[in-house]
Symmetry: C2
Subunit: 255 residues, 2 copies
């Protein structure tokens, strides 16, 4: 049975997609069978793994809206052991389209409870920058949440609201939901603010914060334009090393 | 009658809030009367201008949901000539709460067409990272859109969808809506990718791209933790200089 993680934070641009793609690729490199589910209408995870717009036939939208089987939407990527369910902008109207569906928060969970869904070791769900129905679907389907946190002032402000929403979903629909870990991203150790955010986070959140810190590394932002994870684009980069370390930490926690 | 700009881009973390606060402050410093409207449930613009959570009595949510008069929600800030209408997380459910209201896309526009709304020279609306009902309200109320664009691959991907939505609103509800300009943000001229994005943007979008480029400057990310715009936090910084230049360019275009 897979371990299912929602990669979520309503603050925009904190490294959710970059974490889903590269942590996914790093887990796959160790032989784990990994599925990435893109539920962001921006479809950045799909693009970053080379799924052209024209190749997104059956998507996350079809699974949620039309009950399409997971197996129809899964596509392989150029990365061994790494598959993806792509997203399109259709997802942007999900909140409105599904408002009359009483089971609207359970749709992704139900789709994953199938033989195909259970055939993976890890499932990573890349969430949009919002605490809307799409992110709630990910929280209901997931065992735990991985929270990328940029070492910036505005990013910290949103954390308490994110935790409230996780608690709300735990009480209403998914009793086992917890935070797997908070991953500090785009971290620049030379920067006072970043060092202070790290200190505050470790002091207040303790073990919830992963040991591994993802540094700001331009190779991470270049890789998606070549439609590959940084592990393939520049395996020796600090970004690649950091995501391999994060994967190792996650594997050790879930051994 | 004010010039009303929506500061929008569904891509997360591209500098919407930072632009709304600092462009607003720079315009105010030239003697223009400026109102910032925070319509993002994260409420970052409200926090960045020192409006504590406990001080957000009448908010954007009350204007949209309960027809509260604009005058009740406007608060002064520590910056001369700069006022704000604060946001709270209540806004997160606006799409669902307003689904039955036929006038749901005109609510902000109607609120601004009052003596108080008309008493400003510039109105800047800080949008959430989404093309949802809140951003559409801003597009219907606005004369034009200011688009912060991070010099990154994923940021470019979303631009065409943003332009489609602007065109859609122009055809359905606001015939005069146009793009005021695209502001390159967090730009690092030493970085190949950033230089290439700037080249591509100017080649493909021409005059739509502001001359002024906002550099990556840590003082911009430090300023909100002191609840002040960078123009007050560090007036000599490259960030402050850039936003003063952007304000001058906007004033010249709208003279
Ligand atoms: N550690 C890093 N170093 C340098 N650049 C990074 C790093 N992580 C992410 N980036 C870049 O920063 C930008 C934001 O990252 P990303 O798109 O992954 O964030 P996100 O949280 O998924 O954004 P959104 O909220 O829009 O979904 C991207 O252009 C990405 O390439
Ligand atoms: N030019 C810049 N140089 C350095 N840091 C910046 C710059 N502009 C913005 N930042 C920082 O980058 C982060 C993202 O910026 P900001 O929050 O303004 O983006 P946004 O588009 O409003 O995000 P969201 O999509 O979550 O609303 C913030 O922590 C901000 O302080
Ligand atoms: Mg993303
Ligand atoms: Mg913002």
């Amino acid at each position: 049975v897979p371990r299912i993680f929602a990669v979520a934070n309503q603050k925009g641009g904190v490294g959710k997609t970059t974490t889903a793609i590269n942590l996914g690729a790093a887990l796959a490199a160790t032989g784990q069978k990994v599925l990435i589910i893109d539920i962001d209408p921006q479809g950045n995870a799909s693009t970053g793994l080379g799924i052209d717009l024209g190749a997104r036939q059956t998507t996350t939208y079809d699974i949620l809206m039309a009950g399409a089987p997971l197996a129809d939407a899964v596509q392989s990527t150029n990365v061994a052991n790494l598959a993806i369910i792509p997203a399109t902008t259709d997802l942007a109207s999900a909140d409105i389209d599904l408002v009359a569906n009483e089971r609207r928060i359970y749709l992704l969970q139900t789709a994953l409870q199938t033989p195909v869904g259970r055939s993976y070791d890890y499932v990573l769900i890349d969430c949009p920058p919002s605490l809307n129905l799409l992110t709630v679907n990910a929280f209901v389907a997931a065992d735990a949440v991985i929270v990328p946190l940029q070492s910036e002032f505005f990013a910290l402000e949103g954390l308490s609201q994110l935790m409230l929403t996780i608690r709300d979903v735990r009480e209403r629909a998914n009793p086992g939901l917890r935070i797997e870990g908070i991953a500090l991203t785009m971290h620049d150790a030379r920067n006072n603010l970043a060092r202070q955010v790290e200190e505050d986070a470790r002091e207040n959140l303790g073990d919830l914060v992963f040991e591994t810190v993802i540094p700001r590394n331009v190779r991470l932002s270049e890789a998606p334009s070549y439609a590959m994870p940084v592990l393939d684009y520049d395996p020796a980069s600090r970004g690649a090393q950091a995501y391999r370390a994060l994967a190792a930490e996650l594997l050790a926690r879930n051994a």
